[in-house]
Symmetry: C2
């Protein structure tokens, strides 16, 4: 019997007599042949069925961030039914090592996803463009040949800031995500604003000024982690002219600030109001509920999946923006009348 008949038997498609099919399957069992080799199929199809996902700077850090996890979960759920697998690609964490992970250069993948679209001059984008791999950029600056998925960061942060304004706050500080790959930590002077290279940080900061607020202090953190939020909170709440409200660019940072306030003996929200961004469940703040800008994380993952789908259907780069909504919790309240 011929190889083509065998192929028909395994694929199931095409005209084949049931008897022949059974004969092929029996022979395969006798020769302990375990079905078609995926590599051959992939070469023929010209498709690997693999989506490379650059998760973040280092896996450990990314995976400690519930935001990444939930988006990734949504992405995998969308990709699964399409018979697509997710290949994990570490971002460039080691400045001494290669600028991009070798996997990004050599691994077989149909589409690449960059989960934290960094700066426009990201070497990863260059590498992917060179290879001609269609790319989905999440929370990055839109580029003509790259699909993008994002949320209304700017509008969301504007809404949160306006909420603080409506409560009478005037001394508002901001705790931000990293400004660029160097991931500094501490107060940012106004003349350092030009190296604000990370798009997501820029957009959320712009949202604050959109509301007509000039922050009394801007604190940069090296990553969205509770401990960095705590450090920021201790510092900002020890300032001589203490801010009455702190708008944070992530929920983890905000929860760190709340913990810092409690440590310093300050009441939330009576002495200081705190707002976040993301809309996570933060059980360790209980009974407090964080005031925050809720973004649809699972839907964001699904949107990335659909952007991938578009590419595989032969369409050009798509562009999606998801809405956010303000959730008012118990960590924001009227500004204290006496400072």
């Amino acid at each position: 019997m011929s190889v083509s008949t065998a192929s028909l038997a395994f694929s199931g498609a095409g005209p084949i007599a049931a008897a022949t099919r059974q004969r092929v399957l029996d022979a395969a069992a006798a020769l302990d042949y375990s079905g078609p080799n995926p590599l051959g199929r992939q070469l023929r199809r010209g498709r690997s069925g693999i989506v490379g996902v650059v998760v973040g700077d280092s896996l450990r850090r990314s995976f400690r961030d519930p935001v990444s996890i939930q988006v990734l979960d949504g992405l995998v759920s969308t990709l699964g039914p399409l018979d697509l697998g997710v290949l994990l690609i570490p971002g460039s964490s080691d400045p001494a090592g290669p600028a991009v992970d070798p996997l990004l250069e050599t691994a077989a993948m149909d589409v690449a996803v960059i989960m934290w679209g960094g700066t426009t001059d990201d070497p990863m984008l260059g590498a992917l463009r060179r290879r001609g791999t269609p790319t989905v950029l999440v929370e990055g600056q839109p580029l003509p040949d790259v699909a993008s998925v994002g949320i209304d960061d700017r509008g969301g942060m504007r809404e949160a800031t306006e909420h603080l304004l409506s409560l009478g706050h005037t001394r508002i500080a901001s705790v931000t995500l990293p400004f660029d790959r160097s991931r500094g930590e501490g107060l940012v002077a106004l003349d350092q604003m030009d190296h604000l290279n990370w798009e997501i940080t820029r957009r959320r900061l712009t949202g604050v000024t959109d509301a007509g607020v000039t922050p009394v202090a801007i604190w940069e953190t090296p990553a969205s982690l509770v401990e960095h939020g705590r450090t920021a909170g201790i510092a900002l709440l020890s300032m001589p002219e203490r801010p009455t409200a702190i708008a944070c660019q992530s929920d983890l940072l905000a929860s760190g600030v709340v913990l810092a306030a409690r440590e310093l003996g300050l009441r939330v929200p009576e002495d200081v109001s705190v707002s976040g961004f993301d809309g996570l469940d933060l059980p360790w703040l209980a009974p407090d509920v964080l005031t925050t800008v809720v973004q649809p994380l699972a839907e964001k993952g699904a949107a990335i999946g659909h952007a991938v789908e578009d590419f595989l259907a032969g369409e050009g780069p798509s562009r999606r923006e998801l809405p956010v909504s303000l959730r008012i919790g118990t960590t924001t309240g009227p500004a204290p009348t006496v400072s």
Copy 2:
């Protein structure tokens, strides 16, 4: 010029004149050929360079577990230099859906890793055996044709229990990981012990009896999460004959029990001692430090990587067991003299 020469030019190996090489590269640039197609190379080599990793039941749940994350991080760090990529494969979470993820059946991979080696009759093991894919089982029951990586669960738990005994505790309860795929929650009667199918749970429970202790109560949790630990703690600490010590099978569970104790107004360790397993940093318990059995998580990931390496070097299935050590913190103390 010929394809073989072009291949030489790109691979760099083999004898080739610098001038020819440059000519090939120029021609490639002119035709915007972006380097060798990985699929062709993989087919020829007979290797995909991909390691499939089954992370756990559902991605969301697995990724909320710092233990999985840290092991995965160690694994990726080891696999990276070997030019191997990690393909994420969701475990079977939906009982209505297929028993194993289609990726496990069809994706190209050189080796598969099952991170939470479940039961011996795991359908995933069957699928992998049918395909002839070398498999590394983590924390599972050793099988002849499968490589295994594990720690001394039993000895570690025995040591922790002996520590409690030495403090004078006699009423010791146990909070366990799931017994089987059905993931029940609640007290386990003695006659239900036979459906204890999950190897890791069994081993850690055996460690307790090894120390000569019969737990006054065994509480099964559906997953290693703080909230499940809290539920367990509330229940166990409300029992009429309250246990004076609770040995938990994970740190997340233990921290939930500590939180529950605090909620109930019990002092730790004066009123109740709590021990964990894993050796995580748990900042939200501060200033308390959990007494726990420390396992080397990053090394575990590296050990999995080496097991993979062995397979690719053509060796048979290897077997590795890593040591654990007891870390005594502030959550265990002498048994209360008056109950």
